[in-house]
């Protein structure tokens, strides 16, 4: 009787127990996580996985049982997800990110970031100049919701009050800070995502946000509050604007891959740069969060102009040192980056 059996069926009889064992393991890993597996089970899993892969190869060539092939295919795929899933713990991921990946990504995209900082500052300079000469432009540059009464019509007292508000009135500003954080984080992410469409919108976005900044500057400068305003801005602004510049740089880096993909296809170029760039944006969002903290808390507590300037400058130096030095030692990065 046994020589009557098909070779493909005999193959199945021989291997089925292993498949079933793997399937049970995978199901438990899928439902309760890898931690639910015992040590000996974890030890057996890779062997079972490879056996399953080899079964799949054999089944494809010798068995025409469609269900068997589909089963092995789906089992291999599920096992593959478990074996090649994201393995590092959250803490490990975070440490690797800040110690190595983020500063490296910043260094790799240095020129793009410089370009975006230049655009942001150029926008600010333009906004300042234009608004100084013709205050009516202010409304075109600044969203009224953002301006919050800091318009060219405001008196010196009102503007001073906006800069040196006492901690007692912090509530309003906390809300504003979070709004701003949201706004800026979004500008950052927009820069990143729009980079994929050749970078043109990134240029506009950076320049437009620069314009608004310059326009507000001009309003304060018109009342002789230039230094006080810059200090008010710098305490968090050095962190925040650096982050936005990084996002813009990320956008340009992506755009560069799209415009000049080299020997790769555009899709492959996008994929290769995408991960570096995502690293940048995640880091920038963290920076924006710190900026919002500095803005929401630090600025309410520190109302002295020179101290505010000092903190702002210190943050700038800190970021500079971090980006230049961090992650240079410590050997090869294990993370994969396309470029």
């Amino acid at each position: 009787m046994s020589e009557d059996l098909l070779k493909s069926f005999r193959f199945r009889i021989e291997r089925e127990a292993k498949w079933r064992e793997l399937e049970a393991l995978i199901r438990r890993a899928e439902e309760d996580g890898l931690r639910s597996l015992g040590a000996d089970e974890l030890l057996r899993a890779p062997g079972l996985y490879r056996a399953c892969m080899s079964s799949l190869s054999v089944a494809r060539s010798i068995s025409f049982d469609a269900n068997l092939c589909a089963y092995l295919e789906s089992l291999s795929l599920r096992a593959y997800f478990v074996v090649y899933g994201v393995r590092a713990g959250f803490g490990q991921l975070l440490a690797g990110f800040f110690r190595r990946d983020f500063p490296r990504a910043v260094r790799r995209t240095g020129w793009a970031t410089a370009l975006s900082a230049l655009l942001l500052l150029g926008g600010a300079a333009t906004g300042w100049t234009v608004t100084t000469q013709e205050p009516a432009w202010f409304e075109a540059f600044v969203d009224p919701a953002m301006a919050q009464g800091r318009t060219p019509d405001a008196t010196r007292e009102e503007l001073e009050a906006a800069i040196f508000r006492r901690p007692g009135a912090a509530d309003q500003l906390t809300a504003f800070a979070t709004f701003l954080f949201q706004h800026n984080a979004r500008v950052g992410m927009l820069c990143f995502a729009l980079g994929a469409v050749f970078g043109v919108p990134v240029v506009l976005l950076l320049f437009y946000n620069g314009l608004g900044l310059g326009a507000i500057c001009a309003v304060f400068a018109g009342q002789g509050l230039t230094v006080d305003f810059l200090a008010w801005l710098a305490i968090h602004g050095t962190t925040e604007l650096t982050a936005i510049a990084l996002c813009g740089g990320a956008g340009f880096h992506l755009a560069g891959a799209m415009i000049n993909p080299g020997r790769r296809t555009r899709l492959a170029a996008l994929r290769d740069t995408g991960r570096t760039v995502a690293t940048l944006v995640v880091g920038a969002v963290v920076m924006l969060f710190m900026a919002a903290l500095l803005e929401g808390l630090g600025r309410q507590l520190v109302t002295d102009t020179s101290l505010r300037l000092g903190i702002g400058a210190a943050m700038l130096v800190l970021w500079g040192v971090y980006f230049v030095l961090a992650g240079r030692l410590g050997g090869e990065g294990t993370r994969q980056h396309g470029d």
């Binding site: 799949l56 049982d65 291999s76 990946d101 979070t178 949201q182 927009l190 995502a193 437009y208 991960r275």
Partner: protein, 297 residues
Amino acid sequence: MATDAVLRSVLTPEGVPIGVELADHGARAGALLVDLLIIVGTLIVVAVVFLIAAAVAGNAAVAVFFILSFFLRCPFFMFFELRWRGQTPGKRMFKLRVVDRRGGALSPYAVAARNLTREVEVFMPATLLLMQPGTEEVGAVDNLLATAALVWLAIFALMPLFNRDRLRVGDMIAGTWVVRSEPVALLRDLTTDPASRRYRFTKAQLDVYGIAELQVLEKLLRQPKTQTTRETKRDVLRRILDKIDWPDREAVDGPAFLNAYYAALRAHLEQRALLGDRRVDKHDVAERRGARDPTAP
């Protein structure tokens, strides 16, 4: 498996290609909707709690609400795709999964990349549409920007419809794609059925079909026994009998005959394949493959 399934393959580090089926547009939209409902639902609950508490906490409540909404959006997707190996609650419900296109491990940066762009693909259009009505105070530049942005965003959102791998922009940047991930059960081997030994076939009778027809027959035999299945089986039986010129048609026991023919055909085709002669379907005749078949005259 749907008939319009789009198949791709992922090459694992072991060098074995695994076939995957790209996720359906509808299923992906559904999964996104489920995830958004969870996010919005959570936000509404928190908002209500804070509205009650707002009498005491003042504007700080608003601040907390904004921060929370920010931390619930993109990080929600990232957290689950990292934790659940490429799945979010919505994707799990619709049996979808995010996979690296080149077959490597799904890197945390790929997950970050594909979800950061979500901000642009989903959340920005939503916000823009919600904010449009209050146009009175918005400057002309803003209006123009909003309209232009809306057009961009429409392009982003519809992207999966316009490329053959159904990639969103996030998938392109991250080097991922979304596939169906549904367990397939291992069923009984049909050739073990005792009924499959009741009939004997000649080589000529088995030479009329190829692998494609064999697997169509397998699918039919595995279907649940409903009225329509029975009718299809009768129809298929008649056509096979015609094709192989079976002499004693009246005495044939339908189900047993189909089973026997399946077993014999599979044995025959697998045997030929072992000798290097893989017959894809019934149109795949030996003469046309002369170059490939060493035994051909």
